[in-house]
């Protein structure tokens, strides 16, 4: 009994969101704090989610002609200075290596633009070498001083960074948006998290970029979370690193570049959006085990029930199932554990079910129970998995819609900001004005400028000057 208590989540999602999140991450064994401040250990249950994200996204970008590569972990000091805004943006977060010899100072990569573009300047000679589309899956390090939050804010994290080079501005912009769209697919199709895609304001732009695009999601506590970014770098880095190519016009040209990334942070969003007071809830497409079969047995019928459970498992071809036939744990204890770990479906089979030629299938998200005839198990399981994936997305989508509010004046803005909502409003686009908004609202910032803009723009919600865009504002992770 003591064991069972220890296992479960102790606080409610609706009451102590932040503590609830930590408990889910730790108790579902997704990740934990490392003894080194600011670092995390991603445990197998958490890492398997990352593998699903990798598998989905990697296959999609390969179809788009992207190829994977690997660049060094360490970056020489001089490289950071070749694009001034970039250097300034990252310098406080760099971790430097103690010098071993007379060579230059080296830092652990906070992102790889500089080391990759130095190589690109050697690789690219003619328009025939373009477009160049390269991606790398790796670890990066940014020496954050804020408090660690597992998956959401750690000094080291895992990510992918795509870095492409193009002949023309049009092609560059087109593909910058195409990768953003691929991120939207990861969020919505795989993780069942609806997102708002759009452009970032100048203040929120990536250091050195011409335009930054992002997808933003709304968390249950009303804070927004940036799930992925795609940057049109223009020609800034190409100029800094001397990347040039002989064009079809027989002249020397400067190419156009983009870079784009998603990280293990996505796992944090996944946990927050779907999980509940019983623990993790995994959308079926990211669950490495989609159904767990729990045989309910006593000593006298153990053998035949486990045999039946195995028969059922062996029939399941179109999804991944496991059997929990451990002894010394009650069925109830097992149910709690698998609920905590977020397995989408539980299939119970006991002696009475066996007699009737049926099983009980229980959905993790709704706790709905269903008696299913043995010959229908596979079909029904497939059906329930699909339904669960869809309904998690729909539920999250409804939450986003209900908590997005259009605001016309400053007073309303301030009130809604207190309520922690996604606020849609007119904004002048000025960075000074944005700073003021942030200060006056205890940290509310612009999230994205959505692509669909009304033809008629009113006045800026804060400064009352002519608005430039309709913008989403929220407090952000």
């Amino acid at each position: 009994m003591a064991k069972e208590e220890q296992l479960g989540i102790k606080v409610k999602k609706s009451e102590e969101f932040s503590e609830w999140y930590n408990e889910v991450v730790i108790k579902a064994q997704l990740a934990e704090h490392s003894p080194i401040k600011g670092f995390m250990i991603i445990r197998p249950e958490g890492y398997s989610i990352w593998e699903k994200i990798q598998g989905f996204f990697d296959a999609n970008i390969k179809k788009l002609g992207v190829r994977n590569a690997y660049f060094p972990l360490l970056i020489p000091e001089s490289f950071f200075k070749k694009e001034s805004e970039h250097a300034e943006g990252f310098s406080p977060e760099l971790a430097w290596i103690e010098k071993k010899d007379e060579e230059e100072k080296l830092a652990i990569r906070p992102t790889s633009e500089t080391i990759m573009y130095d190589a690109y300047s050697n690789w690219i000679r003619s328009w025939r070498d373009l477009p160049l589309r390269i991606n790398q899956w790796c670890n990066i390090l940014r020496w954050e001083v804020k408090q660690t939050k597992l998956f959401l804010r750690t000094r080291e994290f895992l990510w992918q960074e795509g870095h492409c080079v193009y002949e023309t501005e049009e092609e560059c912009e087109k593909e910058t948006l195409q990768y953003l769209d691929e991120y939207k697919r990861v969020a919505e199709e795989l993780l069942a998290i609806p997102v708002i895609p759009g452009e970032k304001t100048k203040m929120e732009r990536f250091a050195g970029a011409k335009r930054t695009y992002a997808i933003e999601a709304l968390m249950p506590d009303g804070k927004a979370l940036q799930m992925g970014t795609s940057h049109n770098l223009g020609q800034n880095f190409a100029k800094g690193f001397g990347i040039k190519f002989l064009g079809k016009d027989e002249k020397e040209n400067t190419p156009w570049q983009n870079s784009w990334g998603i990280s293990t942070r996505m796992i944090g969003a996944l946990i927050m959006v779907h999980s509940d007071d019983k623990g993790l809830v995994l959308p079926p497409r990211v669950a490495s085990t989609q159904a767990v079969i729990v045989p309910i047995f006593k000593k006298e019928n153990k053998e035949e029930i486990i045999k039946k459970a195995n028969e059922i498992k062996n029939k399941m071809k179109s999804f991944s199932a496991a059997i929990d036939d451990r002894e010394g744990y009650s069925p109830g204890w097992k149910y709690n554990e698998w609920e905590l770990k977020g397995i989408p479906l539980r299939i119970e089979i006991g002696p009475r079910d066996m007699e009737k030629g049926q099983v009980v299938i229980v959905r993790r998200d709704t706790s709905e129970k269903e008696f299913v005839r043995e010959d229908q198990i596979e079909k029904k399981t497939r059906e329930l998995l699909d339904k669960m994936q869809d309904s998690l997305f729909i539920k999250a989508k409804e939450f986003l819609e209900e908590n997005t509010i259009e605001v016309k004046d400053w007073k309303e803005f301030v009130n809604e900001a207190k309520e922690r909502k996604m606020i849609k409003t007119f904004f002048c686009g000025d960075s000074k004005c944005e700073e003021d908004i942030k200060e006056k609202t205890n940290g509310v910032t612009s999230r994205v400028i959505p692509f669909n803009q009304p033809s008629d723009l009113g006045k800026c919600v804060h400064c009352n000057k002519e608005a430039k865009h309709l913008v989403y504002f929220a407090k952000a992770y």
Copy 2:
């Protein structure tokens, strides 16, 4: 013409092996030196080989119950001191981070035993938690001072490290050997490189291990290359890190551990063993493009020949094919380029072939040409790919056998050592004797003690004392 010259390999494998290797790596665009001394950039053509190794091995270890995770890049100084031999073994190669605050000194991981086992000591409580089988794919850093050789010796490299914990010594030893066997499968089934599995002598053992096992391959220059290692760590680390479990006997027990790794070094072996004076030769199973279709066209028939080439490509389902329909390059230039890049098969289709309803298929390794009827292309290609995979292995196996020599006395040993062969001989097992051998032969060391030992052992080849084992000796990479 100038271009073509630049493209090809300038030296012969049989004459200047080391320079030939560098040229193949650089010109086939597998990897290159980074501007930071000792580091390499793995380019897409090289990284795709790593992805094949990952895909093959990862699927196999998952079937054995291993799960992936991710541990921090940085390791605190105190962790290195918990297993004294281990600390001593790695301390010269550590890269330390400049201190940011009052916390402990941190080094970039040279391997992750220490940081993983510290976590294991919290995770493992009872026999129910065992076996624990965890693997991580990551980058590691060892500050080597020797000269860099792409894929073979660089300060940073990519690898996987598996770390398992067991209840019993028997289980630990059994699985230590099982992972070694999985490495043998990667080398032989995937990379077509025959290997000799066996145990390392004390001198060559991993820092902190009880027994180290390895697979060794013989390179064309007569030097041996260690392709993978699996260490039975005994209870050394468990004791150092306080890993304990409540056994079935209700008592506190110390578990048994192993660790095992392969790295991007395998790619170096792959290149050396199979490639030739024309460039890279890829065994079909590691080639991301297995066949390239080169349409031979003039302006007037371009459209219909490219159409035909696409028809052929679309029919190919059981392997990966690409079309090279670039303009401005002659067919001959294209042939050279694809040979340099190691694509297993070339499929030529010109106007006369089209009339006859055939294509020409050319094997990369033997340059054998074959006319194949259009309706036979897929079947024939499949057949040729399988044949090529097999024949590369057989060729390498013959080379290993021809260059392995049994030696009875010291004079013979010294002579054969000059010839750069794999020397099989009796050895006393003493580290001092091994040091002497190394010194007197300009660096020949024991490679492995093969598992099959003769019942009758003679005298040690060097010191003439009673031999302990039959041992393979060679100069090693």
